[in-house]
């Protein structure tokens, strides 16, 4: 079902990973579920749902295109991975990584996609590194530049996913756009928003997961409450200010270590900046983990995010990326299809609101 907007809605099949993994639905079942939620676009991970990857046969392409036609869908994005360490005994050279990356561009073209999500080095805003070790470059600006002529040949745009803790306004992303600019190939690369940048508190899905892993639920709920208080009063969440209260109820160093990814979070990225950068954005991951009884994503301000994208003039797809499954399925079956359906209702409401 088309939207009445320059923004179109799709689903990343990542959202249905449990259905596929447990053989409840095959690829066609997942596509049907996305269409059933009202999506017109699809993002696909070849390494999850195309078993023939990387040698995709023509018969698969025919079957795939037939299914897309049947359900009224178009392929938006194919997920690129930069598996530098795939050989175990050595890292891939730039030439080898280039060759593998071209496979994704060609596959995207065959699957009728317009974009690949590029696993670029600034995916998290900085090079991937750990203390005491050389940082590892995935696809840097220079290598991205070498891919651009292939993008031109095959008509594919590379989306630079800006995942939490970074966001699209991080200056580190601009080096990629500058390379393309110099080559006159700017239309083949752009920024990709991932809503993880706009989380303002720990999700209820994480509260459940961490509590089942042994962290006291009271600690998690107190942290969530304090993060929400901070956000809704326009302040940053500073863990050190909350720590004494947590220590009083028995919070330990071990808990602190288990929750280190949650506790470093201070505030969502700027909506104002999102609006400013929206015209450089070519693709969006509508990430979510849980939906509350009011139909809202429980830890992100969807209306504000949508307003920023619309006011900034974003034109393109937002695909649901449900990541609650991996946080919830240890407690029992997680109904991904229903979550995505609710997510599309919310996204359509947000589009209507700021038409």
């Amino acid at each position: 079902m088309k939207t009445n907007s320059d923004i179109k809605l799709g689903v990343s099949l990542y959202s249905y990973q449990d259905n596929y993994y447990f053989h409840k639905h095959d690829l066609e079942g997942c596509l049907a579920a996305a269409a059933g939620a009202g999506a017109t676009g699809i993002e696909i991970f070849p390494e999850a749902m195309i078993p023939e990857w990387p040698y995709i046969s023509d018969s698969f392409i025919d079957r795939y295109n037939g299914m897309m036609e049947r359900y009224g869908l178009e392929t938006v994005c194919v997920d690129h991975f930069a598996d530098r360490a795939m050989h175990k005994n050595k890292l891939l050279t730039d030439d080898e990584l280039l060759e593998r990356s071209i496979w994704y561009i060609k596959a995207a073209n065959k699957l009728g996609a317009t974009h690949i999500r590029l696993m670029h080095s600034a995916h998290l805003g900085r090079l991937l590194s750990m203390p005491g070790h050389e940082p590892i470059d995935l696809v840097g600006p220079e290598l991205a530049g070498r891919l651009l002529p292939y993008c031109q040949e095959y008509g594919i745009v590379m989306a630079l996913e800006c995942h939490s803790p970074t966001s699209v306004d991080d200056p580190v992303q601009q080096a990629y756009l500058e390379v393309a600019d110099k080559m006159g190939l700017s239309e083949y690369i752009g920024l990709q928003v991932d809503f993880s940048s706009y989380e303002y508190c720990i999700s209820t899905a994480d509260v459940g997961m961490y509590s089942r892993q042994g962290v006291n639920r009271d600690f998690l709920e107190l942290i969530r409450e304090k993060q929400r208080e901070a956000y809704f009063s326009g302040k940053e969440f500073v863990f050190e200010e909350v720590e004494p209260e947590l220590r009083k109820i028995g919070f330990t160093d071990e808990d602190k270590n288990s929750l280190r990814f949650v506790l470093r979070h201070r505030a969502p990225a700027s909506y104002e900046k999102l609006k400013e950068f929206a015209s450089q954005v070519v693709y969006v991951h509508g990430k979510f983990y849980d939906i509350d009884e009011d139909g809202q994503v429980d830890n992100m301000d969807y209306p504000k995010i949508f307003k920023a994208l619309i006011d900034g003039g974003y034109k393109g797809y937002i695909c649901s990326e449900f990541e609650g499954n991996r946080r919830m399925n240890d407690a029992g079956w997680c109904d991904e299809i229903e979550y995505v359906r609710k997510h599309h209702v919310l996204m359509r409401k947000c589009l209507e609101m700021y038409k």
């Binding site: 447990f22 999850a48 990857w53 795939m86 175990k88 203390p131 590892i136 399925n329 240890d330």
Partner: protein
Amino acid sequence: MFDNFLIRKDSLKNVVEDGKVVGFKLGVRIADYRGQILSLHNGYYIKVDGVVYPREVQKFEINGKPPRTFEELKTCYYEHWNYDDEGTLYVEKEGGLEPGVHIIEFQQSILNAYGYRPTDEEWVKNPPVPGSGAGAGKTSNIVTYEIELTE
């Protein structure tokens, strides 16, 4: 992720060769959201009723080929373990396991293909011993299962 589903509950069986019970086997799944390159598959921490069975007595069966040791899998750079396929883990143990319920503590080790974990370079020469949490992908804790031996 998939913590509770890495071993299929009804898959524990003894392995018989030439009329002798030489070990046991289990159906296992990937602890990740995409298929994995076999060369990075580094074995299992598996402890049954308090006894640890190291990587050296383990073999892994996938893609229709006979069970292979992790030493053999080390060079399978171009072979994939598909995301939704079940593999079979074979463990050598003379006489196998007794019928009945067994407590299995379990962790899969598949090294990260991005190559940004701290230990990657060291692991090339010296792969981590499964069970340390290192190289455990998206399930970094040891998961305990209660599973009944069916044959």
